[in-house]
């Protein structure tokens, strides 16, 4: 029986009746108390019922790592797969079943180390997947080795003298890999994260969301420079499409270009608001430029770096199938068997 025939015989549940409780499971949550993962889970559970999608049409695929336990705690179809390969499995699900809403939950080690290849290729193809990467800049599940996003010099069990690895910039990587939606959220920033998740969910194409996540056991305070109540206003740059890049308690600071086209922090009053850069989610170069604003020299951009639409991989494959079917002469496999040079033995 084909999936299409099967689906035509069942009726979907009513998505408008869903609430966050419908997405919780009875499984005991095994993250460490205080882990940033809890806040992200709560935000996702809050976002899903608002999308107008029947619960049975969600699929969550994860790899390996602390973040990858996510599917066990989310009452949808889910697969806790193998290290780094979640984007490949999710791609297969989406290609066969464009009717489903397919999500990948991954971490910095899972997505950028062992799964780096799949990560970039999923985005290059613009498969309609939502990829949530929990970035805690450490290996948590294996108990505290440096990760591909750990800062250089980080002392861990596997780098007692400090890591000599240069880290990846995940947003730059995603943009270079041509992701059509790229955003950053923070575990403790419920409102900002919720907004980003909702836009990612509604985006048609690969949506990549980097979520800063505190691992209070092995890398506690990694994002304090950004999330500390006192530092926040100065350290965070909220991205808003069409708005000048301003930050500070009262928006008194901004980002402008110097004569060499390098970014500089300016005093808005002195420099003039009209000379500030204006965010444009459709400008690829600007998106990349913003991804290079790194603390402590610059405030950390949070929100949507890039959002553009272009045909998706799954959509284009569907279109090719449709076109081929419409030209088909019928006759199924027997026609292929009978084709070509044949002869008859009496």
């Amino acid at each position: 029986m084909s999936v299409q025939a099967f689906l035509s015989e069942i009726s979907h549940t009513d998505p408008t009746a869903l609430g966050r409780k419908d997405f919780q499971t009875d499984q005991e949550i095994r993250w460490c108390p205080g882990c940033g993962d809890y806040a992200i889970l709560a935000q996702v559970h809050k976002t899903l019922p608002e999308l107008g999608i029947p619960r049975e049409n969600f699929v969550f695929v994860s790899g390996i790592g602390c973040s990858s336990r996510f599917p066990y705690y989310t009452n949808t179809f889910g697969m806790h797969s193998i290290h780094g390969r979640a984007p490949t499995i999710a791609t297969g699900v989406k290609v066969l079943r464009p009717d489903l809403s397919v999500w990948v939950v991954t971490g910095d080690g899972d997505a950028l180390s062992i799964g780096g290849n799949h990560f970039i290729h999923a985005m290059r193809r613009n498969v309609d997947l939502k990829i949530l990467m929990f970035n805690n800049r450490i290996y948590g599940l294996t108990k505290g080795q440096y990760s591909p996003t750990s800062e250089q010099g980080k002392k861990t069990k596997s780098s007692p003298l400090g890591s000599v690895d240069y880290p990846f910039n995940p947003i730059s990587l995603a943009l270079s890999a041509e992701a059509t939606f790229v955003a950053r959220g923070i575990d403790v920033d419920a409102k900002g994260l919720g907004a980003v998740l909702e836009r990612a969910a509604k985006h048609k194409g690969t949506a990549f969301v980097e979520i800063y996540q505190n691992c209070n056991i092995f890398n506690d305070g990694a994002f304090d420079y950004l999330t500390d109540r006192k530092l926040k206003a100065e350290a965070e740059l909220r991205l808003e499409h069409g708005k000048p890049l301003r930050f500070g308690l009262n928006g008194e600071k901004g980002i402008a270009l110097d004569a060499q086209m390098n970014p500089m922090v300016v005093d808005v009053a002195a420099h003039g608001e009209d000379k500030l850069l204006v965010h444009n989610e459709e400008n690829a170069a600007l998106g990349f430029f913003l991804s290079r604003l790194v603390a402590p020299e610059f405030p950390t951009p949070v929100g949507v770096f890039r959002s553009v639409t272009k045909p998706t991989f799954d959509g284009m494959m569907e279109a090719q199938l449709e076109q081929a079917r419409s030209k088909s002469k019928g006759g199924g496999v027997q026609r292929l068997l009978d084709a070509g040079e044949t002869w008859t033995v009496e």
């Binding site: 084909s2 025939a5 697969m79 984007p87 297969g92 292929l336 008859t344």
Partner: protein
């Protein structure tokens, strides 16, 4: 061409011809044309294309030699033939690479134009073998193929390069004449397919073909012709088919028989890529093909498709299996239907990519961490790949398990005449997606111990699966030691139980006696022919060719004990042999080689006779 001069004609039962030349000489095309014409003439036949390992080996070098062998007969043909009776050598390298195989007394046709000093040197000759007497064991026919062809097509007006390229059709025409074949089929092909692409080249090739035929007919060099009468073949409609084509068609048929949508995730690899090429053309049948970024992604996407309710297939060769093994283990744990088709090639590592071998058996059986039972079946001839593919798909969806289908480079590229199956007569493959939330338990089991297939989109069946150990029935994560022990045994039993659905062993030849020849996969032809020869020599020999390698047939142990000696013949260093000894405590003997080449009929016959004769 109907009026041939009166030259005498000798009749043979079987003939093997090998066309050999530089990779640019069109030997594969020549061989294919000869094969089609021979099939139309009513012979049984088997072919063996031998491609150069390097894509751009220098012209005239040994590394660049391409060959095509066809064995045709008025009897049943099992193999492409041990030693060709005729060798067509288009240059010195082709001669040097192939002459050792030519039967003593066999016919050698050599293109003299190519035997200049430079080419002789390139092939490693210090003197011209056509002149130095070193070929005195053969009947040598030196023909200036290039120049006669050029004269024959001079008026067509092709440039020199293109004109020289028609010489393979001259050679083909000459061999057609020699074996009393009609030109009609090739003429039609040239005037049809070739003319549509390049009318000028078609005109020249047609002239070259006829010139070759006429040359044979008029020159005094060839005093006689040969013929091989029609074979007795089961009535029906036939076509030539390679193993890779049959594999692709088999999975298409499995999709139609099950109603499932076929999904192929693959990464290009020799010698499996042609399956990807074939299936990529079948979008009109709803086939989705996904060329992944690597072998792991290829099976990863396939797992996604299996999970989502498709007929999931990934194709590869040995090195790809090594990369896929972690994902194969995941599917085994997920208990989802998925077929991994391994077109084996010479290993280890990159090994001999274009050569054949059967050395992935233990890898697919045991090459994963933990206790990881996966059914394995193997195709035994190019046409059998079709039925093996359907069988693999049937086991996968009926028993909810990954299945490995083994073929090899020899089957993949080799062709045989194949009776075209009738889809209407083939049994359906029943598939049921679970729907009832009230009875749903992700790891509940049916009489085969198969779990339900619960696909996304089904209301009320939301559940989680993964690579961590599951609690029996519920499928929830479990670290309980007794549960793990029980689950490992359950998964093993699930695969073992497939044996209940299999037919008993079918032994060819003597049902008991001196020697049982046991083989699997692409060696069927050579083992059958070797067995026939040994039986003709008066020995009591049976031949058992295994299709199911995991689980093995239930009655295999009994069959093995009915013979004084068991010979396990494989193109590896004794992998099935190792298994049978361990499993059945039989003192089996391993007959093996790993030369990248199929067994010869004679070497199998020799081994059987040797062991049948030595009374224990």
């Amino acid at each position: 061409m109907e009026n041939s001069t009166a030259k005498s004609t000798t009749t043979f039962e079987s003939v093997a011809i090998r066309f050999a030349g530089d990779s640019g000489d069109g030997m594969q095309l020549t061989g294919t044309q000869f094969t089609e014409t021979t099939a139309l003439a009513g012979n049984d036949l088997a072919t063996f294309p031998d491609y150069p390992a390097e894509i751009r080996a220098p012209a005239g070098s040994l590394a660049g030699v391409s060959g095509f062998q066809i064995h045709f007969s008025s009897r049943e043909v099992h193999t492409p033939g041990d030693e060709p009776d005729v060798l067509v050598a288009m240059n010195p390298a082709a001669l040097r690479a192939n002459i050792a195989d030519l039967r003593h007394g066999g016919i050698l046709i050599a293109n003299t134009e190519q035997f200049g000093v430079k080419n002789l040197e390139r092939a490693g000759y210090t003197s011209n073998p056509l002149e130095d007497g070193s070929l005195s064991n053969y009947r040598v026919f030196p023909v200036d193929i290039t120049n006669i062809t050029l004269r024959a097509i001079a008026d067509v007006g092709l440039n020199q390069r293109a004109a020289v390229r028609t010489k393979n059709f001259f050679a083909l025409g000459l061999v057609y004449w020699l074996f009393s074949r009609e030109l009609t089929h090739t003429e039609q092909w040239i005037q049809g397919s070739m003319a549509a692409k390049d009318p000028l080249a078609a005109e020249a090739n047609l002239k070259a073909l006829r010139a070759g035929w006429n040359f044979g007919d008029t020159t005094e060099m060839f005093a006689q012709r040969y013929e091989v009468p029609k074979a007795r073949i089961t009535p029906g409609r036939y076509k030539n088919i390679t193993g890779n084509e049959a594999t692709a068609l088999g999975f298409l048929a499995a999709a139609e028989l099950s109603g499932l949508d076929l999904f192929l995730g693959s990464y290009p690899i020799t010698p499996a890529s042609d399956i990807l090429h074939s299936l990529s053309k079948q979008k009109h049948l709803g086939v989705r093909t996904f060329q992944a970024e690597d072998e792991i992604a290829a099976i990863g996407a396939t797992i996604g498709a299996a999970y989502a309710g498709g007929l999931a297939l990934t194709t590869t060769s040995g090195p790809g299996i090594a990369l896929k093994s972690e994902a194969m283990n995941l599917v085994m744990m997920l208990e989802l239907p998925l077929v991994i088709c391994d077109v084996q090639r010479g290993g280890p590592s990159t090994g001999l990519p274009t050569k054949t071998e059967q050395s992935d058996l233990l890898q697919v059986l045991f090459g994963r961490n933990g206790e990881s039972p996966i059914p394995v079946i193997a195709a035994s001839s190019p046409g059998d790949c079709f039925y093996t593919a359907i069988e693999a798909a049937r086991i996968a969806v009926t028993h909810m398990t990954p299945v490995v289908m083994l073929t090899d480079g020899y089957l993949a590229n080799g062709a045989e005449p194949w009776k075209i199956p009738n889809m209407a007569e083939m049994p359906r493959i029943p598939v049921k997606f679970h729907t009832d939330p009230a009875t749903f338990k992700a790891y509940a089991r049916d009489e085969f111990l198969a779990r339900p297939w619960a696909i996304p989109g089904t209301p009320g069946l939301e559940h989680r699966v993964g690579g961590l150990e599951k609690a029996n029935i519920t499928g929830n994560v479990s670290y309980d030691p007794n549960n793990h022990d029980a689950m490992c045994r359950l998964r093993a039993e699930k695969v073992a139980r497939i044996a209940r659905t299999l037919p008993p062993c079918e032994v060819y030849g003597d049902a008991e006696g001196d020697v049982l020849v046991v083989g699997w996969g692409g060696t069927l032809g050579a083992l059958r022919a070797g067995t026939e020869r040994a039986r003709e020599a008066g020995h009591r020999v049976g031949h058992l060719h295994l299709r199911h390698l995991n689980p093995l047939p239930d009655d295999l142990g009994d069959v093995l004990r009915r013979y004084r000696k068991v010979l396990v013949c494989e193109l590896n260093l004794g992998q099935l042999w190792f298994l049978l000894r361990a499993r059945y405590l039989v003192d089996a003997v391993s007959i093996n080689k790993v030369q990248g080449k199929p067994f010869k009929e004679a070497e199998i016959a020799r081994a059987i006779i040797e062991h049948a004769g030595s009374k224990a």
